[in-house]
Amino acid sequence: MKIDPKEIDAIRELVNIGVGKAAGILSEMTGSTIELQIPIVHLYSEKEFHQIESSLGGERYAAVTLNFEGAFSGVTFSIFPAKSADILIAAITGDEPDFSDKILHLNAIHAETLKEVGNILINGVMGSITNVLGKQLLYSLPTYSEGEIPALIESVRSEHREAIFIAETRMFIRSLDIEGKILLIMGSNSLEGLIARVREISEQ
């Protein structure tokens, strides 16, 4: 499917609105101003999946997953590299950061905290997208896992694994720089539906 850069830009705007809402909620919740940078969005087709690992690196990520089904089906991941996950937890809970660059030390409570932050980010983005689509979707409960990017992508059902939007953003909490990414993995029908709707709106 041929996608116009303007349409990618429109999707970036949708993600940005969602991420902005998430920042507002996170700021209120933590009592600290949380700024989220305007995301950089890339679209990868199934043939280009192998490029994702080289662009995101082979490290392990802390990932929050949300499956959705309906007119638009797929999986959204909110992922944090180990160091960022560590700083994020420390920034919002006041716990001492580990700085080990490993995520194995995360305990159940830390994982639960990350799950909530990821959940807020994902819901912000999914809220924007479903508003545009005007369709209601069925969602699973968010789950927390740790893994490398290829393993996360592989965990998605093959029919929902035909295109990936990767939105990279940075979160700033009390001058701490936290890196986070949102991966929106979907089937080609879902992608076409989303692009068609975006096209429709921009032509109005």
Binding site: K21, T30, N123
Partner: protein, 372 residues
């Protein structure tokens, strides 16, 4: 629309669950309040039915709750409220007065009225898990603080050690200067006095003692680095070969077992081998062969340095590692034992015919290295 019989079944089922369940409609009015939640909150289903959840619990008006619950009620994705970022979703006091720690999920409830989206609030009690993790974290923080303190103490010990080393080196240098002057003058004096008589005996005693002091001071200088540098892994075969370089007596054959055994020891480890080989050459009298071998057992490795000389008399075996005991400085075996002790190794003498020193290495202090 789900039949009232099914609704009734769902309600009964929810009452049997050990988690708190509440169903609200789009106006946030409570439709279901299960038994567990009633027990935790002290409010019965009858007391709360049709009441607005955020009026009963006003903290739910805040953005971090309100917007997210409303998103679910608009058909959006589930919302998770973790225990660390929120006070209890539904504050529930326990018998000891503390609040129950909760992990809450708010999901769209597909049952009920099809014309209206309802939300199900699922509350898990994670109080025990939270306490256990906090206790574990407190233990971890304490352990980390202790490690930091220990690192600080080690740093300061290292500094003190360096200062002592410097002081000892200066003192040794000054003593040796004075001893040289003393020996020089005693030698001059020796030439001026007759061969026989008390003066000769006195000057010989002075010379003998002064030379002994000189030897001892020089010898301790060689052990200056004892315990100063970090221990490391040393390959026995290499150490034995290096130490054997002092073996200048061509009539003595040296046999070294080859293999990749490595031992965690002080950097002066080689000195132990040099000492034992040197003792064999100097005091073994009939030594023709020195053998360095080792055996690995489940709990320890044993390195043996044996010779076929005259051996050590049985009544002296226990004393040879004492400071000052021996025919030379009396420090060699004493310091050898100290070098080994730094990393928990020990040494004994077990020879029956000839001398045989056994170095015992605990299991966490040896390994098989890479074969070259």
């Amino acid at each position: 629309m789900i039949s009232s019989a099914i609704q009734e079944t769902i309600a009964r089922f929810s009452h049997a669950l050990p988690i708190g369940i509440c169903i609200i409609n789009s106006e946030k009015q409570i439709l279901l309040w299960n038994r567990t939640l009633a027990e935790w909150s002290g409010l019965s289903q009858e007391e709360v039915t049709e009441k607005k959840l955020d009026e009963l619990y006003p903290h739910l008006h805040s953005i971090s709750y309100r917007l997210r619950i409303e998103q679910v009620l608009e058909g959006g994705p589930p919302a998770i409220f973790s225990s660390q970022l929120h006070a209890s979703f539904i504050p529930c006091q326990m018998q000891d007065g503390a609040l129950r720690v909760q992990h809450t999920s708010v999901i769209r409830y597909p049952g009920g009225d099809t014309n209206e989206i309802q939300a199900m609030i699922i509350i898990e009690d994670v109080t025990e898990l939270d306490h256990e993790i906090r206790a574990f974290r407190s233990m971890r923080d304490q352990a980390l603080a202790e490690v930091r303190e220990r690192a600080k103490a080690e740093k300061s010990l290292l500094l003190t050690n360096r200062k002592l080393k410097l002081l000892s080196s200066i003192t040794r240098h000054d003593i040796l200067n004075e001893v040289t002057v003393l020996l020089g003058n005693a030698n001059f004096l020796e030439e001026t006095i007759p061969e026989e008589g008390d003066e000769r005996r006195f000057i010989d005693a002075i010379l003998h003692s002064t030379e002994k002091i000189q030897k001892q001071i020089t010898f301790t200088g060689e052990y200056d680095a004892l315990g100063v540098q970090e221990p490391g892994w040393y390959r026995i075969e290499d150490i034995a070969k290096n130490a054997s370089s002092i073996l200048y007596v061509s009539t003595i054959q040296l046999i070294i077992q080859s293999g990749s055994l490595e031992v965690y020891a002080d950097p002066m480890f080689e000195k132990v081998f040099m000492n034992i080989i040197s003792n064999a050459i100097m005091h073994g009298e009939t030594v023709t062969t020195i053998t360095i071998s080792w055996k690995v057992h489940a709990e320890e490795a044993i390195i043996t340095i044996a010779d076929d000389g005259i051996g050590i008399p049985a009544d002296q075996k226990a004393k040879i590692f004492n400071r000052g005991y021996g025919k030379n400085t009396g420090l060699g075996l004493f310091l050898s034992r100290e070098i080994l002790d730094i990393t928990g190794l020990s040494i004994i003498e077990v020879g029956r015919e000839g001398t045989a020193f056994e170095i015992h290495v605990p299991s966490d202090r040896f390994r098989m290295g890479d074969t070259p």
